[in-house]
């Protein structure tokens, strides 16, 4: 493939764990622990994992809402991890974020029109330009233009999430990270919002990173899927490859939990035991070994790298000694 839109190299985010009277840092929680990722222009990359796997943290780092503790991050070939102040604010336009909770992410004291237009205001657009773009965006996300005069609490959850989408897309970003964009919504409107995201992607030439633990939703929208476990990728492949032949035992367990749409067809289910280990003190070697059905001695000694499967020409990357 050609030049990636966003390129991450060995990105890490460690949160200090403080304790005691002096609030000394006693340890670090490794939320994201060495991620390499190339996001290709125009694709939708699904990011899946259990809660606590670091997928939301990684999503926030990708759009600059959080600064990584270490690693390189470049957008269209330009380094963005070190940017600050007004440079950073200008580059925000290209990278936008859709929040999980439409209630908490909209300022209750602002009208919908102001909320959607705020990014344009920050980028220096005049009032009439702003109003025009906000109105167009309201049409695109399927809200009536009158909604601009309303407050968020006057609208339903699905409508509020459309506002969150409109706010992100009105800036004409190139990359949009959506953090569980439908998980806070009623099941009955989840598909509406998913379809809206897919339509807008086609219409506006967007690239998505879709963070979710809802595998059915991720399968539906994604071209490629990255599976995260305890701050690391364990497998990265096209949606088709992952569905047909997941290689990593963790991925297999995850995908076996997705309900089968064809009645009567059963696949064997893999049930994992226990909880994910503490990210403050992850297991030696392979992080999954404590819950892995295939684990042997080598797994505790050597950490498997994320490498192409031997003999497979496609870029199906997996981090397992036995895959």
């Amino acid at each position: 493939m050609n030049e990636p839109l966003l390129r991450a190299r060995d990105v890490r985010k460690y949160f200090p764990v403080r304790s005691g009277f002096l609030q000394r840092t006693v340890a670090h929680a490794r939320a994201v622990d060495g991620i390499d990722l190339d996001i290709r222009p125009g694709e939708t990359l699904g990011l899946v994992g259990e809660s606590g796997s670091g997928k939301s943290t990684l999503g926030r780092i990708l759009v600059g809402l959080m600064t990584p503790s270490a690693g390189e991050l470049s957008f269209e070939g330009r380094e963005i991890a070190g940017l600050g102040g007004s440079d950073l604010r200008r580059s925000r336009r290209q990278l936008q974020f859709i929040f999980q909770d439409p209630n908490g992410s909209l300022d209750p004291r602002m009208r919908v029109g102001e909320i959607i237009g705020e990014g344009l205001h920050a980028q220096g657009a005049e009032r009439d330009v702003r109003n025009k773009l906000v109105n167009e965006m309201l049409d695109k996300v399927g809200l009536r233009r009158e909604a601009a005069q309303r407050y968020p609490h006057e609208l339903s959850g699905g409508q509020r999430q459309r506002i969150g989408i409109a706010r992100a897309l009105v800036l004409q970003p190139k990359l949009v990270v959506a953090d569980e964009p439908v998980s806070a919504l009623d099941v009955s409107i989840q598909s509406q919002v998913l379809n809206l995201l897919v339509e807008l992607k086609r219409e506006l030439n967007l690239t998505y990173v879709f963070v979710s633990h809802n595998l059915a939703a991720v399968n539906y929208v994604s071209d490629r899927i990255a599976v995260m476990y305890l701050g690391k990728f364990v497998e990265l492949a096209s949606t088709e490859q992952l569905r047909r032949a997941p290689l990593h035992p963790y991925t297999r367990a995850l995908f076996s939990a997705v309900p089968e749409p064809i009645p009567g067809r059963r696949r064997q289910s893999v049930v994992l035991k226990g909880e994910p280990p503490n990210p403050i003190d992850p297991p030696s070697g392979c992080r999954f070994r404590t819950r892995c059905p295939l684990a042997r001695d080598v797994c505790a000694e050597r950490e498997p790298g994320l490498t192409p499967r031997p003999g497979d020409a496609n870029d199906h990357l997996v981090a397992c000694h036995f895959a």
């Binding site: 809402l65 929040f99 909209l106 004291r109 705020e118």
Partner: protein, 299 residues
């Protein structure tokens, strides 16, 4: 009637009046919103009435507050409703005129403290780190002094007049607002809508004034009405000590101070200005409590 649910409801309503920190279930909150907020209504009535009396003082009082009549220390009568003082001045007129001084000092100093304290708290809470630590330690120093002592020292140094009183008390009350504003800012800045604004490239100043400030306004307004109470008491204390607005201008504290020498033969001189202080203080307090009840269950 020993129906337990009625008892519980009664307890919940009683708790609403005194201890708003207890989170109430939604249904109770909704019910109490529908009911009249008695403290707020009574408090507002008192505050509005006092403000009206202060403005209308020249038309309401039959006598000039500085006019000296022949009858000194005359008891309340139809001519002098609240009697006269040692110099033969009408006590009712003096109380009405003193309301102007008290209310203007209270409101202006509370407003000054509101603006400066909110700004300091907003910046400290939003900037955090060293800026926060530095500003809050400065306020600690200010609060380390006993409030009235510091006020006495400052007014004595600056000179006792209305602008200096407002300035002194404004500075004195600033930490109250700064603490409330900082604490609220610390919680609001973590909300997703503030993170979203940062992600849109909104400048920190605009985030502070457009997103944080409107969302921390409620506790600050409550603080303002409670601070006004404190300001009235402080003003009365200072003028009792002779450091308020200077005679012959009437002040409640000054009138009480003058009355001490003749209190046994003319008790009305001490009682009526004392009641005036109580009346206004209770009014502002009720407004503060009422606002807290009205705003707390929702947030």
């Amino acid at each position: 009637m020993a129906d337990p649910s009625t008892v519980m409801e009664g307890l919940a309503t009683a708790g609403l009046g005194t201890e708003p920190a207890v989170p109430l279930p939604n249904t109770d909150a909704a019910r109490s919103r529908l009911r009249w907020n008695v403290p707020l209504v009574v408090g507002l009535a008192i505050v509005i009435l006092s403000t009206f009396l202060a403005f209308a003082a020249p038309w309401l009082s039959a006598h000039d507050p500085l006019e000296i009549a022949d009858a000194s220390l005359s008891a309340p009568s139809s001519l002098y409703l609240l009697g006269t003082d040692q110099l033969g001045r009408d006590v009712l007129a003096r109380i009405l005129y003193a309301t102007r001084t008290s209310l203007s000092v209270a409101c202006l100093s509370a407003a000054l403290a509101f603006v400066s304290g909110t700004l300091i708290g907003l910046v400290a809470g939003y900037a955090s780190g060293l800026v926060d630590a530095f500003m809050m330690r400065l306020l600690d120093i200010l609060q380390a002094f006993p409030a009235l002592l510091l006020a006495i020292a400052l007014v004595a140094a600056l000179g006792p007049n209305l602008p200096n009183l407002v300035l002194t008390m404004g500075v004195l009350f600033t930490p109250r607002f700064a603490r409330v504003a900082r604490a609220s800012t610390l919680s609001v800045r973590e909300r997703d809508y503030v993170v979203a604004a940062i992600g849109l490239g909104v400048s920190p100043i605009r985030i502070m004034f457009r997103h944080v400030l409107p969302n921390i306004a409620a506790p600050l307004i409550i603080e303002a009405s409670l601070t006004a109470t404190l300001a009235i008491l402080t003003e009365a204390s200072l003028s009792f000590l002779g450091l308020g607005v200077q005679p012959p201008e009437p002040t409640w504290g000054g009138m009480i101070a003058q009355s001490t020498a003749v209190m046994s033969i003319a008790p009305w001189l001490a009682i009526s200005p004392g009641l005036a202080v109580v009346f206004v203080v209770v009014g502002f307090n009720l407004v503060g409590d009422g606002l807290r009840d009205a705003m707390d269950p929702r947030s």
